[in-house]
Assembly symmetry: C2
Homo-oligomer: 204 residues x 2
DNA sequence: AGAATTTAATGCGAAACGGTACAAAATATG
DNA sequence: CATATTTTGTACCGTTTCGCATTAAATTCT
């Protein structure tokens, strides 16, 4: 599949690594304020190479969002390992989120989607679509775990898995915003703990 | 105080109304993607007039954020009218928020602060400061009402007013993000209802 | 009435922007 | 070795950007 040698001059860069660098630029500056010069400098790619490999700025941004979404889903499903108690699952979700959100040079970057895609979502329909789909996929994944919790008796039969999942997500959304607003790690961890308590209050 | 006639040529525009129009531009496009031409067209002010009245684009944006924050606090304190039950208070907070968030021409605009200031917060320290202060002020106002609820017996003595307030805010943050992501009013109202239930679960 | 002061309108200018044309370089194929 | 194909690097194009310089207009003060 991959062994077929391509005809022309081979690429002198790793597309995956370049996308990672581009993602960091978008993460810090947002889509609109990220210039092609910024992206070119961060990736060590000339603008034409960037364009040739990933299309225009919007294409590159959407690719970046999609990758980020997928990576986030991977972290989420790992955190929700059903062999662990529900409480631990939700705590791990928040811990995983904070590990991502609290990683900035000047200030914490929060969530790429919530922090930067939200700004573009009103005018750019494609961005709004990715953002909406990402939030829904997260909700759905947590909801599956909540349903399992009800089946297992970790949560009472009266619990509403869909709504509990959305509220569990809500705490994460808030962590994303607050991280970007400059809240301390301690504050965020306290909110995460309280969130676990509130959502899983009736769980053992 | 205001009757003193100023010396030169009088202004031909209402600064308050102009700020409102500028706010709408920022709300739809975010700070970086809002050009002075956009702002000039929306306010019916020439760029030099805009500049003379409000300073540069960042000054205008920060003014806009500050006004929005103040307006939001007014809505909040009104919603938290202590003569009403806690449940009604929180429900009114969310209803007030949704009335603001779900008012867009192309798509819902969500919260100006969460939707647009978050994007700039990493690089612009002043924006981050306003955003952080706004979130904190909201938390504090709700916390006051929570403390009162504990004193009155609406909440059990074991309740933690600070954390309950932050979680009540968290639901609102999530509503802001989801509105901008395109979620329907029905979905958002359902989340708000569940949020009230979860936060005020032990209240009468 | 005339000077002083403030705002309005036109338009400029330097810089940054996104995107691309074009030629040189590097590889596979015949 | 020659040709086809793809990537790289430089340089550039037209547009948009923000901010301001300058002049005309409107009002108050003397």
């Amino acid at each position: 599949m991959k062994g077929e040698k391509k005809r022309g001059r081979p690429r002198a860069f790793d597309a995956k690594a370049a996308l990672g660098k581009a993602r960091d630029v978008f993460w810090d500056r947002g889509f609109a304020a990220a210039s092609l010069d910024n992206l070119s400098a961060a990736t060590n790619l000339n603008r034409p190479s960037l364009y040739g490999a990933f299309g225009d700025k919007e294409d590159l941004y959407l690719d970046t969002l999609e990758r980020y979404r997928q990576d986030g889903m991977d972290v989420l499903t790992e955190a929700l390992d059903p062999s662990l108690p529900l409480r631990d699952n939700i705590a791990r979700v928040y811990a995983g989120a904070l590990a991502i959100y609290l990683h900035g040079e000047t200030a914490a970057r929060g969530c790429l989607l919530i922090g930067t895609a939200s700004a573009e979502a009103v005018q750019h329909e494609r961005v709004r679509e990715v953002l909406g789909r990402s939030l829904n996929d997260f909700d759905d994944e947590i909801e599956k775990r909540m349903r399992l919790a009800v089946e297992r008796g970790e949560l009472p039969r009266s619990a509403d898995p869909e709504m509990l999942a959305r509220l569990a997500s809500a705490v994460m959304h808030s962590l994303a915003v607050r991280a970007r607003a400059g809240d301390s790690r301690e504050t965020l961890e306290a909110i995460a703990r309280s969130g676990v308590e509130l959502i899983c209050g009736s769980a053992p």
